[in-house]
Subunit: 145 residues, 2 copies
DNA sequence: CTAAGGGTTAAAGTTTACTTTAAGTCAAGA
DNA sequence: TCTTGACTTAAAGTAAACTTTAACCCTTAG
C-alpha cells in the first residue's frame, strides 16, 4: 500500500465525491502532488483537512472562510494538534449563538399568540438578527386573529 | 389612505425588496390584484403572509415547502388565528431537532481531543446526520496529534 | 403639460457548493 | 496487447432565492 492516495481512494475514505475533491483543490482547500501521467496523489493528511472542512461547514463557515482558516496552518511542517485546535477556537461560541437564535425563535413561536405584527420591520421573529435583541425583550408575537 | 397597497408600500412595511415581492408573486406565495394600468395592488393581509414566510424561512423551510403550507389556508375566506396556528404546528419540533444537532456538535468539539479520525465516513462530527446517532454514542473525536 | 418618481416585463446575472458532460489519457490485469 | 476501470481537463449545468438590467408605462405634483 502506497503512502500517497489516489483521488478515488480519498473519495472512498472521506465519503466525498471525487468531483468535490477536485473542486476543493481548485479552491485551494486541499493540495495534491502529481504522479506519472498527471494523476493526483494526496498525502494522507488530506483526510484530516477534509474532516476539518466538513466540520467547519457544519459550524456554518463558508468555503472561503474555511480556506482562510486553513491558510493559518504552518506551511513548512505537518500541522500538529495545537495547530488544529487553534483553528477551532471560537467555534463553540459560534455554535452557542446559533443555538440561542433558534431557542429564541422557538420561545417566540410558543408564546406567540395574539400578536398584532404591527411592525414587520422590527418584529424579532420575522427578522434574522443579533441574538441580544432577539433574546432581550421578552416574548415576541407571531399571529393574531 | 387606500386599503390596497402598492408594491412600494408593501416593500416599505415589510422590509422586503420590491423585487423579492414580485418573485414571491411569481412563485405563488403572495397574490396581487391589478389596478388601473396593470399595477399590483396588495390586500393588507399580504403583510401577515410575508411575516409567515420569513419566520418559516428562519425555521428552515424552503420556499417550496412554504408555498405548500400556504396552500393549506382556506381559499374562500381570510385566514384566522387557528388557520395560521395549524400551519405552524410541528415547527417547534423542527427547531428542537436543529438545536439538538448543534448541541451535539458543540459537545463533540469540546470533548474532541485525541481523536484518530480513523473513519471519516462514520465520524459523527464530520457527517451531518440523524440526531440520535450523534447524541447517542458519547463524545466523538475531532483532532489528534 | 411636463418632469419625476414609482411601476411593468422578461431575461439575464449573482452566490455557494458542487455535479455533470464530453472527450480524451493512464494503469493494471488476463 | 488489449481491455477495463480509474483518471484527466475545461466548460457547462444545477439549485435556491433573489437581484439587476433594460426598455418601457403610469401617476401625480407643480
Amino acid at each position: 500500500m502506497e503512502d500517497l492516495l489516489t483521488i478515488g481512494q480519498v473519495a472512498e475514505r472521506s465519503g466525498l465525491a471525487a468531483s468535490a475533491i477536485r473542486f476543493y483543490e481548485q479552491r485551494g482547500l486541499v493540495h495534491a502532488e502529481r504522479g506519472s501521467g498527471g494523476q493526483r496523489r494526496f498525502r494522507r493528511d488530506v483526510l484530516r483537512r477534509i474532516a476539518f472542512i466538513r466540520i467547519a461547514q457544519r459550524v456554518g463557515l463558508s468555503l472561503d472562510e474555511i480556506a482562510s482558516a486553513l491558510a493559518g496552518l504552518p506551511p513548512d511542517r505537518a500541522p500538529n494538534r495545537q495547530d488544529w485546535q487553534r483553528l477551532t477556537r471560537g467555534w463553540g461560541r459560534r455554535i452557542d449563538e446559533r443555538i440561542a437564535v433558534l431557542e429564541a425563535l422557538r420561545g417566540g413561536l410558543t408564546s406567540c399568540i395574539g400578536c398584532g405584527c404591527l411592525s414587520l420591520r422590527t418584529c424579532a421573529l420575522s427578522n434574522p438578527g443579533d441574538v441580544a435583541s432577539t433574546l432581550g425583550a421578552g416574548p415576541r408575537y407571531l399571529l393574531e386573529d
